[in-house]
Amino acid sequence: MSEPATTPDSNLLVADDVRKEFGGLIAVNDLEFTIPERSLVSLIGPNGAGKTTFFNMLTGLYRATSGTILFDGHDVTDKPPHAITKLGVGRTFQNIRLFPQMTAIENVLVGMHSRLKGGIVGSVLGLPRVRREEREARDKARELLQFAGLRRVDDELAESLAYGDQRRLEVARALATEPKLLLLDEPTAGMNPQETVTFMEFVARLREQRPLAILLIEHDMKVVMGISERVTVLDYGEKIAEGTPREIQTDERVIEAYLGKAATH
């Protein structure tokens, strides 16, 4: 466990003693985790270390067995996913979960759901206010698609896009929720090295142009080390190391966790 690098006031997310048990299995074990504002931090660890479980708790998909999670000053420990998203947490999924039968632009528009106001009556009657909101939303969605590097796929069904484009679309959709914190769950899984590089350049560009914090789960060490300000390593649901990429690379416990005891000897 390490002290938060910044004062508590500028921590966007504070997870305190968070635990998740599934029956007898402890997936996340009294974890303490903070994310400073506008930072880019990574969470790594061997398979089954509890990274995605933790993600799911942050986004409300799982309810923590104990502990608290504070986001932007709000207690989100028991809040449902849509409420947490509305507060400003956006995410992508480890195995892409786009809406397959919706077009790219519709996927992004769904992301905007909590930021739009159009209701039933307004939609049915076609009130000018609602029409305008829809028009503006579509323009914004197109911009997001452009920003994510997706060209001319606006009206293509999500399921027919190339894999790399699907990953970018997921990010665009998450950005549409206007997040203060963006959670990326293994976004480069399944990409070849070149695609990975382009994608991470996109993430870097994202970082510069938008005022948000990013939490990245990754397996690819090059990706993690190249871009993160801080790296946290989980193993068996516990934090075994936290620090700058350089510090983590040489940490014995980390090497041991990934490669087994033999590797350190």
Binding site: F99, S114, V124, L157
Partner: protein, 448 residues
Amino acid sequence: MARRRDRARTSVRGYRDRAVRVSRLDAGAGHWRRLPRPVRTFTPVIALLAIATTYPFYLASLPSGNVPLIYSFPSVRSAVTILVFTTMAVGLNVVVGYCGLLDLGYVAFYAIGAYTGGWLASGQFQQVRFHFGSVGITHDARGIHISIWLVLLCAAALTAIGGILIGLPTLRLRGDYLAIVTLGFGEIIPQFVRNADSLHGFDLTHGTFGISPIDSPGFGNTVHRAVGLPVSYQQSFNADRLFFWTALVILLVTIFCCIRLRDSRLGRAWIAIREDETAAGAMGIPLMRTKTWAYAIGAFFGGAAGAYVASFNAGAFPSQFSFNISVFLLCMVILGGMGSIWGVVVAGVILSWLNVEGLANIGTWLNDNVFPSNHNIEVAKYQFGIYGVVIVLMMMFRPQGLIPERRRKRELEEGGHGTLDDGMYEMRGADEPGAGERGSPGGPSPRG
């Protein structure tokens, strides 16, 4: 000369001439495709509308009595029932087709709507005397008699509230449990109306006799004197036509609302829930609230249709409501294509017609012309078996329905990458633990 023609058939020039002829057809199609999209969408709709609206006029000139297979075209009176059932199917499509909630108890909404019509426009409640805009009722008649147009709205609203109440405890259940629970409500409510003639002495639904007569729609004397609209449908000389056109209007209004909703923020939320409930929640869509809206809207139109048909039949009777009807409507949605309004309309018309008189007619025709005279087969008796076969076959071989939802159609037009069948079966189960962690079967495969 002949030899020259022969040579033309095999020569390059002959080939080119044939190609030119074919390409003229192609050019025609190309011209069609080049028309602006609104024209292309609206022309068939307007044509269909014209055909439907003028039906009572040209029905007389259609052949009748010995049309092959179907024997005769439906009467205007039958057409009213057809339109009403189709309206209900469009309502069910919102719940099942857009939002992906398997509702096996839609008949409950039909019943609530019909009985609300009975309560608000008949002599059922002899304890009071309340008139408001009703037509064709003597001034001193007891009971509640409200103008049918208002009653339609009230019934729709009440049914929507009923839908919300039913939805509250049930919409958080998983898909198959939700189906069973809706089936349960679809059984409880009809059984309730069948038996609620003595609730602590109070007669709410008049038991197995049902509520009748129910008042007629109409515009009253004042409006009649002003613009000539009919005073009271049931008492008009062309009552059937009046009911028909009003039913058509109701269907069109329902279709219009559903199209508007589908393309709205709420509609997108419904479809997102259908496609991937977990991801939808993660994108900020409040799941329970959104599903409840789907239920409420579906109930709204079901209730309106139910109240209207109660007025048309001048009565609401418990024998009209059974689980079979819920499945019957579901069959329309599946045959037409879940989420596809026009598909559901077409399937609704076909299946309702079969139910009202089509199967009986086909049976008669078959018995007269095909089957030997000593083997009389009562085709209509097997209608639910036929609907069952339709459901099973559609699910196995064409789950996207006769007229797929526009999204799938776009994929087919563009020579899309997916096959006809895979899109439907890539829906993920939202209730899997470890959402986002495990791979789901049939997820998008890496391309490129």
